[in-house]
Structures are given as C-alpha cells and as structure tokens.
Amino acid sequence: MNPDEQGPPDDLLRAVEALLFAAETPLSAEEISAHLEGADVKPALAQLQAHYAPRGVHLVERGRRWQFQTAPDMAHLLRREKDQLRRLSRAATEVLAIIAYHEPVSRAEIEAIRGVQTSAGTLDVLMEAGWVRVAGRRDVPGRPVIYATTPDFLNHFGLASRRDLPGIDELKAAGLLDPVDDAFDEAMEQRADISPEPTDSLENPEESA
C-alpha cells in the first residue's frame, strides 16, 4: 500500500477525486483549485494518482490537465464496436507524426520530409479530429501558416507532454529531427575530419547486396 495513504481519505482528497470523476473534460490543477476555494491540490493529485495506480481506473496527466481513465490493460474488455475510431490514412498518420515531432511546422516543411505534396484534405482531417491546429505564421517570405498539435492530441494518444512522444529523445540525439541541409553540412564536416579521402560504402554495392 502507498505510504501516503493511511486511514480514510481527507476531504480535500475526496473533493479532488469527486471533481475529476464528474468532469466532462480534463481539468488543470488551477481549475480544480478554483472550485475548491484556491486550495493547493497538487499533493492530493499525487496521492490520488498513487492510490489509483494499481486499480482498474487510473488518474493521468495530459498536457498539464488531469483526468481519470480506464487502465490500458482493460482495453480488451471495453473495446466497443460501435465507436470504432475512424481509420486514418497513412498520409494522415505520417503528417500527424511530422507535426508532432517537429512542431510548429509549415506545409512546405512537411512536404520536404515526405517528398510528396500533402493534399488539403489530409490536414483537414487532422484538424477535424481536433489533434492539429494552426499555430500562426512563420516569419519568412510568404508568411506560411504553421501547424502544431493540440492538448486533445496529447490526451488521445496518452501523452503527458510532447516530451513523451515515443523515441523523441533518440530522434533528437541522432539529428533525425533536423532538416536534411543541416544534417548534410554536419556529415560533410565529419567526413572531412575523419578521412580526407573517404572510401564509402556508397560506391560498393556488392558489399551490402
């Protein structure tokens, strides 16, 4: 049992629990606090999270907002045929990933990565799902619109924040989120440093064939 939990829960804890159970949308600590005469609710949130961790319902934080949801291992019991999620096209899932990992990002930047034009419908689908929003314009000639993800995106994909995106640290460390031009310059510099006369595998198809 959690060491925080001894005896019956106090009224503040019960109040936070009741509010989060009743809420129709995730609530930030500030919103919860506003309902409770400005009480500091962070310790109660931490206690509740610990209390619910082994249970069938979990308390999760998504983009600084909190909500109860069923434990992931209960998915097989709860899956409902009637509200199957609409299947996203491959293009839409890739565009969503590119926006999430690079945000904010313009359409041209998305296309540079994918090597194809993005149909208007693809971004519309993502915006209609409430996962992507227009986040302003880039301050370059043409002032292109830039896109970013929404709090609903984090909520839907079970991410506490963008730092939770799968593998984002590794991708960043490997430079895979940098534009090709930057990576190219860096690679050329490294090559120059290591071997001024590189003999690389590119010329040697037999080796890897």
């Binding site: 491959r90 194809v116 198809p205």
Partner: protein, 267 residues
Amino acid sequence: MEGAALLPGMDEPPLAAWDGVASQPGSDAALYLELDGWEGPLDLLLDLARRQKVDLKAISILALVDQYIAYIDRAEALKLEIAADYLVMAAWLAYLKSALLLPKDEQEDPSPEELALRLQLRLERLGAMRDAAARLMARDRLGRDVFARGAPEGVRVLRRNQWQCDWFDLIRAYGDVKRRTQPVVHMVRERPVMTLDSAIERVSAMLGVTLDWLELRAFLPPHADPRLRRSALASSFVAALELARLGKAELRQEDVFGPLHLRRVKA
C-alpha cells in the same frame, strides 16, 4: 490499394492494409507492384531500402537505384500507369548511378556522393517519421484502448450577475423620467437678432461710403455678441442679395465658398 495490385507469380495474398512497417521479410522475390500503395517515389525508395535489412545509414545506394529502376521497368512492362514523379525519380536515379560509377576525377560538382548522401539523409528522416507514426498509432488511445468516464455528472460554472448601478445613475435616471414627463411650457427666448430690414439699411449705408469691393464680413457689427454676429451675417447676406436684385450692388465671389465681396453700383 485497389486496382493495380499484382503479384508476379506468387501466391501470397496482397497486403490488406498498410501497417506502417516495411514489407514482410523474405518478400524480395514477390515485389508488390502497387504504386497506389506508396506515398510518392521517396516512400517507395524507403520501402525498397528497408528490404536491404541494414541500417539506413549503411544502405547501398547503387543497389537501391537498381531495385527502383527494375521495379519501374517491371511496372512499365505490365503497362501500369505510372505517375510522372515516379518516372522523374527513376531518371534522376539513373543519372546518379552513372555519375557514381565515373572515376573520381571525372565527377561533376556537386559530387554524386553528396547527392547520394542527401538521398540517404532524406530516407532516414522519412523512415524515422514513418516509424514514429506507427508507434504513435499503437499507443493506448483514448476511446479505443482507454476510456474516460462514460456518464460524467459534469462540473458546471454558474454565472451569477452582480449588478452595477451607482447613486448618480439612479438620481439622473429619476431626473430623466421627471423631465420627460412633466408638463412642458414652451417659451421662445428673446434672441439677439439683426432683422433683414435693419441689415439692408446698414449694408446700403455702408456701401454708400466707398466704390471699392468690400468683403461681406466687413459689414458686420464689430464687437457684437457671437449670437448676434451669426444673425447679422445671415441677414447681411440676404441684404446683399436683395440689393443686387434691386441693381444697387454687385456681388463677386472668386471661388466656391470663397469670401463674398460686394460694391455699390454707380447710379
């Protein structure tokens, strides 16, 4: 995915849906000719590259070029419709291959190695995002794997009006009501005016003094109350028109809305 799915001589079923990872291992021989299944030539290249089963960093670009061109050739032989961008890529890759095979000192700038490196970097980036998308979609998703409360009671914020009104508003409102509804006695206040008769008299008298043009304003009483001046201006203007009509004076105005001058007509 409909239409162009072809399995040259193989009995494997076609891929039912894209599953976000490279094609099944061991399917090299059974290269699916499904251009509809790829999101452009870069995507096809990435899929071919993944078949080399090595890190994208260590990929053989020459082998990749051969595979891509072979693939497009096969599609052409089968009379499949091939989008232009796939053909452009094929031509560019053929050029890249020939350049790579040239001796170093005959290579042009930018060197084919650099072009190949750029291609490899692009494939790596697209591959990273393709994998990221697959991992994202495989997460426990709200409404599919995890569920919010089915019947939340709801938390409501009720707005309570705090009405604002101060003492002065109240008193003034009462004054407005009283003023609006009390019986009103209209009395016309005596105003300082110059009658037309006195203006005609005054202007004629002043015109008699000189034959020069005089501006209308010169005929006004100099130190009058502003309200009298307004009245005098209006009356003097009408007086000037009247005198002109009678042939006793002439009027001149040089531009629209400009100063109005008048002078006596010699009898």
